[in-house]
């Protein structure tokens, strides 16, 4: 399903029936132009990522040895064959960026899923049982938060060895405490509410209570955090790549591209500029959308 269908379907106002919660949500979300723009950019990047093999003009690893460090097409010596120029061993930068989008989206998705999954479980357990288990979990989270996150990620990668999957794992470990804390806070505030008490009285099991009664009602802040978490994940993974600890060459991950292009910074501005712009735009889009989601989901901030 493409985004335009989505928008039309959701935006066509229902005549008689009262607006569904989803529809109210969409209205307030669509009010925020920045958020919609962010969503559009993300959709475009997602399409690029999914269809990279067809969209990219060249293979991301093919080396055109005769066309090393070619500038973008509008600069002197550039050619439309390599629209954004080539890198030091003659690979097409545009193609690498397009394939890199795939990696960045995957990084965001996997990191957020991992962190969200682990964070929800830890937060639910801590918030639901309280007592020593709560103390143990929350102290552990405090410890992780007290270490500079990048340093912790670097240590984790050093232990596991450099590489994309290890870097993703490291980043999810680092962001995990945020999700755990958020879930716990939400669970605690929900626990006292009538519907929980009612369902407890009616004999719902612990697991059922945790996952199907309480959790859905805590989802709003988590969704916001997860969207914003995409941007953190992409930034952190790129930082690790920049330090040579993330994806290994010749993988076209944006941070890794920046790292290996760094020595050419004065000679060929384009090898450094474009991967950075790609990271910035993607992260900005997720932040815009995250802001919009928060405004739409959090009635307190809505005015």
């Amino acid at each position: 399903m493409s985004a335009t269908d989505d928008i039309e379907m959701m935006a066509s106002p229902a005549k008689a029936a009262p607006p569904s919660p989803l529809r109210t949500f969409w209205w307030s979300f669509a009010e925020n132009k920045g958020a919609v723009a962010g969503l559009l950019v993300i959709v475009v990047i997602a399409i690029l990522a999914i269809f990279a093999d067809w969209i990219a003009p060249h293979s991301p690893t093919e080396q055109f040895r005769d066309f090393r460090l070619l500038p973008p097409f509008w600069a002197d010596g550039g050619t439309l064959r390599f629209p954004l120029g080539t890198d030091d061993i003659g690979r097409d930068i545009l193609s690498r960026l397009i394939h890199g989008a795939r990696l960045s989206m995957a990084i965001g998705l996997i990191v957020v899923t991992l962190a969200l999954g682990m964070g929800i479980v830890l937060g639910l357990v801590a918030g639901f049982y309280r007592g020593w288990i709560d103390v143990a979990i929350m102290r552990l989270m405090d410890m992780m938060l007290a270490l500079p996150s990048l340093l912790l990620a670097i240590v984790v990668v050093a232990i596991l060895g450099p590489g994309l999957s290890n870097a993703m794992f490291a980043v999810s470990i680092v962001v995990l405490p945020h999700y755990a804390r958020l879930t716990r806070a939400a669970v605690i505030s929900e626990l006292g509410k009538d519907y929980v008490v009612a369902s407890r009285v009616s004999g719902a099991g612990t697991l059922r209570l945790m996952f199907s009664t309480i959790l859905p009602n805590c989802m709003a802040p988590l969704i916001v955090q997860a969207t914003l978490g995409f941007s953190t994940a992409i930034l952190d993974a790129a930082a690790l790549g920049f330090l040579g600890l993330g994806a290994q060459p010749p993988t076209p991950e944006w941070g890794t591209m920046l790292a290996s292009a760094r020595e050419f910074v004065t000679r060929a501005w384009w090898v450094v500029t474009f991967p950075g712009i790609a990271i910035l735009v993607t992260v900005l889009a997720f932040n815009l959308m995250g802001d919009g989601l928060r405004d739409a989901l959090d009635p307190k901030l809505k005015r």
Binding site: D88, I89, G161, E263, T266, R267
Partner: protein, 531 residues
Amino acid sequence: MYGAAMGLALAAGAIAPAQAQGSKTLVYCSEGSPENFNPQINTTGTTFDATQPVYNRLAEFERGTTNVIPGLAERWEVSDEGKTYTFFLRKGVKWHSSREFKPTRDFNADDVLFSFSRMWKKDHPYHNVSGGEYDYFNDMGMADLLESIDRVDDYTVRFKLKRPEAPFIANMAMMFASILSAEYADFQMKKGTPEKLDQEPIGTGPFTFVNYQKDAQIRYRANDQYFRGREKLDNLVFSITSDASVAYQKLKAGECHVMPYPNPADLASMRTDPNINLMSQEGLNVGYLAFNVTKKPFDDKRVRKALNMAIDKKAIIEAVYQGAGVAAHNPIPPTIWSYNKETKAYPYDPDQAKKLLAEAGLANGFETDLWAMPVKRPYNPNAQRIAELVQADLAKLGIKANIVSYEWGEYRKRAQQGEHMMAQLGWTGDNGDPDNFLNVLLGCDAARAGGSNIAKWCNQPFNDLVTKARQSSDKAERTKLYEQAQAIFVEEAPWFAIAHSVSFKPVRKEVVDFKISPFGRHEFHGVDLKR
């Protein structure tokens, strides 16, 4: 206040402070912080560079060459069939003084005894200070070689060896053999801070140590009483800049005069920069791919020769070394004496390689591993990239090579155990003696499990030649022996020798008489600055 000042500076927006006073200050953008200031207990080039200005040795390498010249010893005599070395020490050599330490006497035999006893004698009061690791002293086999060190008089010291050892004098010129002050050591010991001996150095060298700020800078001042005469420079500053491209920017801006390890990518623009003189020299090193001759099929000479013809060395030099390397075919670099100019490199000839493989009964190729170091080394800037190129070349012969890598310490250990079939490694020379390559890397003794001969290649005729050369002190005879040994090496082909890297040193034009050290050191005595 900070904020206001910062705003002001943003508005003013200029840098370049005027050159202070009228003194000559040379700034070297060094690549990192030294571990400390004692060359006895360290092995890194960074630390050797930082201690070089401060200390002298009994014998020294002439700047920019591998020739040994007198240092703190005016001359020496060899007797007893090469087993006794008598050093006659220079008189009137002054020690540096610092804020807290003022020397009361000149350099003499006690200092020599102190410096070597500290490394050699386990019960010496200083032996365990600062970790007590004397890697170079032990690696060079000094502990086993020395029979005794005696003080004959104030200015005469006699070293007795257990066996004749031709490279001994060259060893004495290495950084680990630097001479420290016994009086200063006693002074620090009495104060209860013996480790300060290694942190705040007192030496006899051309420059006096002034101050060190970790990760920022090291400052030295010319030693007015230097026994070879005062330096032309007044001050020497190491500005620690770990990033090579940043160092290049500083060099361009005139913030430093010399930088050590430029990025290959910057070489082209350095060549055309009117303010920079790009110096280069072939390094005292070799990068190679060793075939483990104890494993099939590399026990067969024909296979080793075939692989030597199957890999396109030129492509490696161009793509990986980017001009900063010359193709190798002997195991020692051409800068070392006794380099055999007669041996012929194997040509790149995949067809001939195929024939040889067929003769060896491997017409359909075989499967092997191909090890690549995880780190950049002076002799090999990118082992992974080389592995990819080699892999592609071998695939054309039906040989399937799987690239393998380990964490660096692990890699070296496993390779020395001989776990690989093909492994890349390399060597940087210590003292410019051919023995330091041929015996250390290819001798039978080093072919044991855990030894540094990772081809595990033990060839009796070769080993006999190298051993004989080691025990002779006649350079002409040694040259002949080493040349023969190299011919055997090329014929037997235990390695695919890759390259000798070329080291580049960008130096600003106002620097006069800087010389590249064949040992990879960066030395600033004898250097001057033009106004």
